[in-house]
């Protein structure tokens, strides 16, 4: 009996043990599968799969030439040279080998080798040939990583228009930043299962999303004209000991920009070495200034188009005019007596354009709310008070006072003070006079490039009609007198009729209290031939330190480029 009982007890105990073990196993299985299932599954997938980003090729930027498309921004594969000092066995040998291939000072390499960091970048623009040489040397601790970079074939020539691409592959400044999304394209992705070493293996679950390369563009710029303009502005800035300068050339009928330069410039291939970041911005669109007398042509255009004055309308120039108790004088206190509207522009009379402003309203003897409103409306129609929309990053909007501003503010605005514009906006507005009264959108993109062919060519965008063709022609005719008999005489060319206006503008103080004593901006805005303009050009020279007005600082540069433009457009002399 006792033996049977023991035997049965053992069986029970064994059964309980086995069942318990099964229950524990099932419980664990339930825990792993049901409770922690998703977490473990995710971990497994992350260990067994990898995502590889496939970079898209950035679109190129071209200009169109007689011989075909010429690339001014290309892609280039370069290498980043980095060092992990922990793995460097022979420091002197490493220094010697690197300096055999690269021009990096020994002390810089030694500083990296003696650092306690594990990854220090020595250079970010190692060429493929240099990288190949370094790879062959098999230097322990020396790391070479390829990455895409940009090559600008003309160096500084298009620096401000193009901008550059930074180390993260993002466009900075200029066209590179403005069109970054289109140029960059979209990176692709390869999701793949990997083996234990992380090497991709074939699997039906692998997915591939192909990269979408960026768009390539051709710009309206002309390389030859750009070079002539760059040389002219450099000469103007240096000979006048000025701080900086800009030139813009635009086709008035299409709005196509043929040249846009600033000086000083920089080499976008070596953007890392630029210490003064203000050099990066395209001042032709990003820097506001008070245009001064160059603005008078817009006031006169408004007067002529409204029918309130004609080129022969006369007024008595007493040398000064009082507005709201404040006296406004002509430059250098000149007074000329009875003068026509043509004289007003030719002699650049402040009192004359205030007279025009007065005529725009209900009482021709004073500035009225109506005259301010009419003038304001014209400025809006000329495109002032907003950006032009040119394909450039960082364009700033001009500042135009509302018609509710003081009368004296509007009197100042009539001759270009107390109003701020950027160079591009002034070119666009004066382009209206050169384009039979029509405002077109200025643009840099001439079309897209696919397979070395230009597709989707840009179509001229007419913004609005601003003034009558007759009034525009009258304004142009008046402007020719500035060149023939006025301050633009240095750009006079035998056989060519050039319309223009000089401007020597004061520079407002940073604290807003008046103007700087010894600072001015010399400028010349003009177009030619006056009766059928092929180009509008603006030259601006900031803070010249030599004596003289814009006729000495800006006009010579205009003349140099204009001479080249007549050849470019094959304009024969007519007179």
């Amino acid at each position: 009996m006792q033996t049977n009982f023991r035997a049965r007890w053992r069986v029970y105990a064994l059964t309980v043990l086995v069942v318990s073990m099964w229950l524990v196993a099932l419980g664990r299985l339930f825990y792993v599968q049901a409770i922690k299932g998703q977490e473990y599954s995710a971990k497994a997938i992350s260990q067994q799969s990898r995502k590889f980003e496939i970079p898209a090729h950035r679109g190129l930027v071209y200009i169109n030439e007689a011989s075909g498309l010429y690339p001014i921004a290309l892609n280039n594969e370069v290498y980043t040279l980095a060092i992990d000092p922990k793995f460097v066995k022979d420091k002197q040998k490493t220094v010697n080998k690197i300096t055999e291939v690269l021009r990096i000072p020994e002390k810089d390499i030694n500083a990296v080798l003696n650092s306690s960091s594990r990854y220090i970048e020595l250079s970010k623009d190692i060429s493929t040939d240099q990288a190949t040489q370094l790879k062959k040397m098999e230097l322990p601790g020396v790391i070479l990583q390829p990455h895409a970079s940009r090559f600008y074939s003309e160096g500084p020539l298009f620096s401000h228009v193009l901008g550059y691409v930074n180390d993260d592959g993002k466009g900075q400044y200029g066209f590179e930043q403005f069109s970054n999304d289109d140029l960059a394209g979209q990176n692709g992705q390869y999701n793949t299962t990997t083996d234990a070493r992380g090497v991709p293996i074939n699997s039906a679950e692998n997915t591939l999303v192909n990269p979408k390369d960026g768009k390539s563009y051709v710009l309206t710029l002309d390389r030859g004209l750009q070079a002539v303009a760059a040389e002219a502005i450099k000469t103007a800035v240096e000979s006048n000991k000025a701080e900086s300068g800009s030139i813009i050339v635009m086709e008035p009928s299409t709005g196509a920009i043929k040249a846009m330069v600033n000086y000083p410039d920089y080499d976008p291939n070596a953007f890392r070495s630029v210490k003064d970041y203000s050099l990066f911005s395209n001042k032709a669109v990003s820097s506001l200034f008070e245009p001064g007398s160059g603005f008078k042509v817009l006031t006169m255009a408004a007067g002529l188009d409204s029918g309130k004055v004609t080129p022969t309308t006369k007024y008595d120039d007493t040398g000064e005019i009082v507005v709201s108790g404040k006296t406004i004088k002509n430059a250098e206190n000149h007074k000329f007596g009875i003068q026509t509207m043509t004289d007003v522009i030719q002699k650049s009379l402040n009192t004359g354009v205030v007279f025009v402003l007065q005529q725009l309203g209900t009482d021709p003897k004073k500035i009225t709310p109506a005259s301010k409103q009419v003038f304001y409306d014209y400025l809006q129609k000329f495109g002032l008070g907003k950006v032009t929309g040119i394909e450039q990053a960082g364009e700033v909007s001009s500042k135009v006072k509302l018609s509710t501003a003081y009368d004296v503010d509007y009197a100042n605005m009539s001759f270009g003070q107390g109003i701020s514009v950027n160079s591009m906006q002034l070119v666009s507005a004066v382009g209206v006079i050169a384009n039979k009264g029509n405002l077109v959108k200025p643009h840099l993109i001439a079309g897209e490039v696919q397979n070395d062919q230009v597709v989707n060519p840009y179509k001229t965008q007419l913004v609005r009609n601003v003034m009558s063709a007759e009034a525009a022609a009258q304004t142009a005719q008046i402007m020719t007198q500035v060149v023939e008999h006025g301050s633009g005489y240095l750009t006079r060319m035998k056989g060519y009729s050039i319309a223009g206006k000089t401007g020597t503008a004061q520079v407002p103080r940073a604290d807003g209290k008046g103007y700087e004593e010894n600072k001015n901006i010399g400028s010349f805005i003009g177009f030619a031939p006056a009766d059928d303009p092929k180009f509008v050009m603006f030259v601006r020279v900031d803070y010249p330190k030599v004596e003289g007005f814009a006729e000495k600082t800006a006009v010579p540069a205009f003349a140099t480029v204009a001479k080249e433009l007549f050849r470019y457009y094959q304009v024969p002399p007519t007179q």
Binding site: L74, E77, F151, S153, G155, L157, P573
Partner: protein, 108 residues
């Protein structure tokens, strides 16, 4: 009655024994094994082919990358050669001078 049917009737005891394949568990097992081996060989063959093609594709991709890099290099070199700086250097080497006077012919 034809002679053939008459013949059959005369030999009434004539029987035709059908041939039958009998398959036991061993033969089924062997057949399955054979089938598995055959399928395995086919599978291995396909895998090998895929690997070979993958290798070829990798090679072609590497070649494509090399060609693209070469193309980039050539584009850069071509642009460099055509740059204004290069043109200026060559112009002075070749003794070229700038034209100042341009004459226009009048069409009659």
């Amino acid at each position: 009655m034809t002679s053939a049917t008459a013949g059959l009737r005369r030999n009434q005891n004539f029987t035709r024994k059908k041939l039958e394949f009998q398959t036991g568990p061993i033969s089924i097992g062997l057949m399955l094994l054979g089938l598995i081996i055959l399928l395995s060989l086919l599978y291995l063959n396909q895998i090998t082919k895929t690997s070979v093609f993958n290798y070829k594709i990798s090679n072609l991709q590497a070649k494509q990358n090399t060609l693209e890099t070469s193309k980039q290099k050539l584009q850069i070199e071509a642009a460099r050669v055509q740059s204004l700086a290069s043109a200026k250097t060559n112009a002075s080497k070749d003794g070229l001078v700038k034209t100042d006077a341009v004459s226009f012919a009048t069409a009659r």
